[in-house]
Symmetry: C2
């Protein structure tokens, strides 16, 4: 089968063996996969991953001995394959399982291929009403929903999101649903325009409101957002950190103590509420698709995804 792989270099390979489902796994025919910033970081060598890329996908289950009712269903899947046996899993923190593999990111081939295998327990069958092009946003939307899963965002809170990338746009839409007083700070006219059309207040980094916020979400994807976030959060406020990047950050931790700030790291989130929000039409993802390429043009698709101003670039296997 064909697969988009990274081995120090990004390649479309054409004769990768079709994966064999292990015990408890499903074999899935991938129909659509999304390119995420993490994929771009992997291709820059920032993660120590070699193999098939891709952790955002929609597909149809072909084989699933452990859960035969899934066969024939359209599905999306969680990306952290946890063991279920260790103390971390048993206390409900499965996404932090120390034995986990992560789809297309860590020790597990991903979904930018014609076929992928994943434990059946990670799959969510999709209702017919949810098109592939919407459902493919389940994984990044779940990461946005993780914020309201971990934090009580109050309708009376003043909230600032820094970063108008794909994740920033999804986070902003999730937070908008709380009724909070929301502003997104970004650098890209077109992306801010999408938010503006959704009725969300926007600002440029050099022209943001001076009033501090109860909650500031740092979702720029790079270390530069931290200082602005720090400046914009109230004493006793919360900074939600969503950016992962190579390198370290130097900060005045005493000011975190004096101002009694809470810095809260947030990563992958729950799929079920993300799918509910998508199905109910409460999150607009149509405006977020920059382009769709056939899998055979994956290298061009990655080029497109790297362009300034690009949002979601999708790969489809439908050309076959």
């Amino acid at each position: 089968m064909r697969a988009v792989r990274f081995d120090g270099q990004l390649k479309l390979e054409r004769d990768i063996p079709r994966p064999e489902p292990a015990d408890g796994d499903a074999l899935i025919r991938v129909t659509l996969a999304g390119i995420c910033n993490t994929d771009l970081e992997i291709t820059r060598g920032y993660f120590d991953f070699k193999g098939t890329l891709g952790h955002e996908f929609v597909g149809r289950v072909l084989r699933c001995p452990s859960k035969p009712e899934l066969v024939g269903q359209r599905v999306v899947g969680e990306i952290n394959a946890w063991c279920g046996e260790c103390p971390t899993c048993r206390r409900g923190d499965e996404t932090h399982c120390p034995n986990r593999t992560t789809l297309g990111i860590f020790k597990r081939d991903g979904a930018m291929a014609e076929y992928v295998t994943l434990p059946a327990k990670l799959l969510y069958a999709l209702p017919d009403s949810l098109p592939d092009e919407v459902a493919v946003f389940a994984e990044p939307l779940a990461a946005a929903v993780e914020i309201t899963e971990r934090l009580h965002v109050k309708p009376t809170d003043r909230v600032i999101v820094i970063g108008d990338g794909k994740l920033g746009l999804l986070i902003a839409q999730v937070l908008q649903l709380t009724g909070c007083d929301l502003t997104v700070i970004g650098r890209h006219d077109e992306k801010l325009g999408i938010l503006w059309q959704l009725g969300i207040k926007v600002a440029l980094p050099d022209d943001h409101p001076s009033e501090q916020a109860d909650i500031v979400v740092e979702a720029t994807g790079n270390p530069d957002g931290f200082d602005l976030a720090r400046k914009l959060v109230k004493p006793r406020g919360k900074m939600v950190l969503k950016s992962t990047y190579a390198g370290e950050l130097t900060l005045n931790m005493s000011m975190v103590v004096v101002d009694e700030l809470a810095l809260i790291g947030s990563r992958c989130g729950p799929f079920a509420p993300a799918l509910r929000l998508l199905e109910q039409g409460l999150i607009n993802v149509d405006s977020m698709v920059t382009a769709t390429y056939p899998l055979s043009d994956a290298l061009q698709a990655f080029e497109k995804a790297r362009e300034r101003g690009a949002l979601k670039v999708l790969l489809t296997t439908d050309e076959d």
Copy 2:
């Protein structure tokens, strides 16, 4: 009057004018004052403060036109003199008031003197059953109580406190009351001995338990404790930061995101519950007093407080 002052150098001055209470203030005859690590940091020039030191005290109210019922009462006092008018005060975050002065720390002469003035609204009358030598711990104990004020520490939580200084000992005792599985990591045999006698598990930094904790409190007072705290906290766990020090800290913020940690800064806390715990005999402070000096020997008292292994050193004006 006599006062312990810092003007680049620590001095006992003998002819400082007795302070005059402003509107709303009480004039207090100080009977006992404690030396805190912050005082030692000020004398090292780490804060930009010049004036009379001291923010832990017990005294008797001599004059208080705005609240005459306080006259003659023994009192302790909060240290952040807030305005009560600004948005920060109005939302209940008075200790973060941007217009605040702080007793003996920021723009307000402190209590290592024969007399001190403080807004009457900051004073707490002491019950007769609470001796001066116990009540003088109200301020640091309030800072320890701030942890359980801001965080839900569950009886089933595994908690590690790093640091066996004065604040670490108070924090450990407050956390012990939750019923949690508590270990304190410290470097001083004598201080760990106090905890051990209180039935609290102790460990040395090089010989600590390997099991990670739900909550780790960093109370070493210096940047070195952070890395150990980071190592000892579970994914999705909470790190409570209590240390203020000069200088910055460099850390891998992406790991905070990936492990979904919460870093929570914590400073001054509520006096009323601290006084209740002291009055109910639930916190042992007797073992924490290293020495008591008359105010006229304040410079020796500071020397003593700087000694390795020293805990609380008190200054009394009772010699007069």
